[in-house]
């Protein structure tokens, strides 16, 4: 049976920049629009990834619907999608085989966890009780219904590469987040709510062999939002509460590198 990688051949790519004698570990950063801040942080030198041979593979979120998994690789389900992803990859990759990497960092990738924190905050405001067991169920259901989480889990199952997952950040404070009707009291969130959710996500992600990267604490404001300092440029004007700036991207990269340094690091 042909591998996914051979089924969707890569375009001719540039030779690796590292010397042949000392190959650097290979890091794939896979993401949707949320990974732009990471790429910018890297490009602007806010964080050094010199110890790694880095490749980006991603696209805006809509195309994620056209991705599948085959033979150890995330594969586009059609040529158009393959072209789109290849366009933004340094090597023109039309698919992402985990075997080509020592670590894969998923960024954004449509794994939405904000509402879980909002639920915890609202439950506190309502006088409800959100047990650890129920929170675990919410997390498990969130993982189970996320296609990209499935990719991460299967990459981890493949056993060779370290898999990290940084989900979309919390909404930027000061802008409507779209959940106001359901969760009018997210301001009730406390640091302990967030810590409890992160702990649950980290624990259950580990069961799947994936290292979950909680949003760095210093980027959070008001318990359940991202501090405006990390909002994308002109976010107040554009109303973009989702995307973040390179400073946030560097925080994600620093967190990822810290984890990678613990094992398999350069």
């Amino acid at each position: 049976m042909p591998s996914a990688a051979s089924a969707v051949p890569a375009r001719p790519s540039a030779p690796p920049s590292a010397p042949q004698s000392a190959p650097r570990p290979r890091l794939a950063i896979f993401g949707d629009s949320h990974y732009a801040c990471v790429r910018l942080a890297h490009g602007r030198g806010l964080v050094s990834l010199d110890g790694w041979e880095v490749e980006y593979w991603g696209h805006v979120g809509k195309r994620f619907r056209h991705l599948g998994y085959r033979d150890g690789a995330i594969v586009p389900l059609d040529d158009f999608t393959a072209e789109r992803f290849a366009k933004f990859n340094e090597r023109g990759r039309r698919c992402l085989p985990v075997a080509d990497f020592d670590a894969v960092l998923f960024v954004g990738c449509r794994l939405y966890v904000t509402h879980l924190l909002f639920m915890a905050a609202q439950a506190r405001a309502d006088g409800d009780f959100l047990s650890t067991g129920l929170m675990e169920r919410l997390v498990r259901d969130t993982f189970a219904t996320s296609v990209t989480w499935g990719f991460a889990r299967r990459f981890a199952e493949a056993g060779r590469a370290r898999i990290l997952f940084s989900p979309p950040s919390l909404p930027t404070a000061g802008l409507p987040h779209g959940w106001e009707a359901t969760f009018p009291d997210v301001a009730a969130a406390r640091d302990e709510d967030r810590a409890r959710l992160w702990d649950c996500l980290v624990r259950l992600a580990a069961v799947d062999g994936v290292t979950f990267l909680p949003q760095p604490d210093h980027t959070v404001a008001g318990g359940a939002m991202t501090h405006p300092d990390y909002g994308v440029e002109n976010h107040l004007l554009t109303g973009d509460m989702e995307h973040k700036n390179p400073a946030y991207g560097s925080a994600v990269l620093i967190a990822a590198l810290a984890v990678l340094a613990q094992r398999d690091g350069p």
Partner: protein, 356 residues
């Protein structure tokens, strides 16, 4: 008038009220003491069969109070699995009058729940509602915090309600030898570990049932002087008996006692009524047609027939503008409306797993 029977209406005579009628034409079984209308705030508790009431009420646009709806935005499956929206508060099934009394005493300050918890593989289960948290709590403290929310919900439900519908289910129970507290289900079945030195079987008799219900009613009416209580008896036979008798006889014994207690309380208290769902399902006049082939589960047709009687008799006694049933919908804070019997949460069912 030469004797009292001469002027009685047709429904007082077996021939005209039952024998000459199709079972579906038997009517007027209930003359409601008080109105339960669209504006009545209704809370439900009790054994599995009580869940049918909340569902039927919600579907028809009645005000069923869910005082412990759980965190917002749970999916219907998550709500169901964690017993939110099953009853008006998250106690799970309350099978016996003693359990009702216990919950009310804990909620209204008569006594404190004992510190007993059941530990299974590092998780902790509430002996008085072991099924509400499928994987257990992470600590006894978390268990207590969750129970405190339920006790607050019981207080709110009783204080806000116009009507409490309580379905009596069982007389057989398991208790702590040390404290006399009654468990929701036999230790060692759904959770916990059975220890004959610690746990004892207790089959309530008429005296203890009346005693417990009387105390429960006193607490209820003290908390809410305007409250009305509608009692029903679950028509669902016992899953299993520890009485030493055949399960059919044990069922008969239990249900007869509960039926007598419900009837007597309705006679004794102006604010207590009895709705005969038990008779509608189990009486030979209805030929057992509302039971599933296992002769235990009540079919949806049976449930619908019971509830149709409920609304018709209410309407006859207290006419209201007629409104067609609204489509079942899953509302936040409303009960699960999947009307299959399998969806009814019945912890007692766990005993089936032990049958040989």
């Amino acid at each position: 008038m030469s004797h009292p029977y001469e002027s009685l209406p047709a429904d007082r005579f077996w021939r005209t009220a039952v024998a000459e009628r199709s079972p579906f034409e038997i009517s007027g079984l209930w003359t409601p003491k008080f109105e339960i209308g669209k504006r009545s705030r209704i809370v439900t508790a009790g054994s599995c069969f009580a869940q049918h009431f909340s569902r039927a009420l919600v579907v028809r646009g009645y005000k069923w109070l869910d005082c412990e709806p759980g965190p917002r935005a749970l999916t219907p499956e998550q709500r169901r699995d964690y017993h939110y929206g099953t009853f008006s508060f998250r106690t799970g099934n309350i099978y016996t009058p003693r359990m009702l009394r216990q919950w009310l005493e804990w909620a209204f300050g008569g006594s404190e729940p004992p510190p007993e918890v059941w530990e299974v593989d590092g998780r902790f289960f509430d002996p008085f509602r072991p099924a509400v948290e499928p994987g257990g709590f992470v600590s006894p403290d978390e268990l207590s915090a969750s129970r405190a929310v339920t006790l607050a919900a019981i207080r709110a439900a009783v204080q806000k309600a116009n009507v409490l519908v309580f379905t009596l289910g069982l007389t057989e129970s398991w208790q702590s030898r040390a404290t006399g507290h009654e468990y929701a289900i036999c230790p060692g079945t759904a959770a916990g570990r059975f220890d004959p030195e610690v746990h004892q079987f207790f089959n309530h008799d008429h005296r203890t049932l009346m005693q417990d219900m009387s105390v429960a009613l006193r607490i209820l009416f003290r908390a809410n002087r305007g409250l009305r209580v509608l009692l029903t008896v679950s028509p669902v036979p016992l899953t299993a008996t520890a009485s030493g008798r055949h399960v059919l006889l044990a069922s008969s014994h239990s249900k007869a006692l509960l039926r007598v207690v419900a009837g007597q309380l309705a006679q004794d208290h102006a604010a207590v009524d009895y709705f005969p769902s038990y008779e509608i399902i189990t009486h030979p006049a209805f030929r057992g047609m509302f039971f599933a082939p296992n002769m235990r589960s009540v079919t949806q047709t049976g449930v619908d027939f019971v509830m149709a009687n409920f609304f018709r008799d209410q309407s006859a006694a207290h006419p209201q503008p007629v409104r067609a049933p609204v489509a079942a919908r899953e509302t936040e804070g409303g009960p699960a409306t999947d009307e299959t019997e399998a969806e009814i949460r019945c912890e007692e069912e766990i005993l089936n797993a032990f049958s040989r």
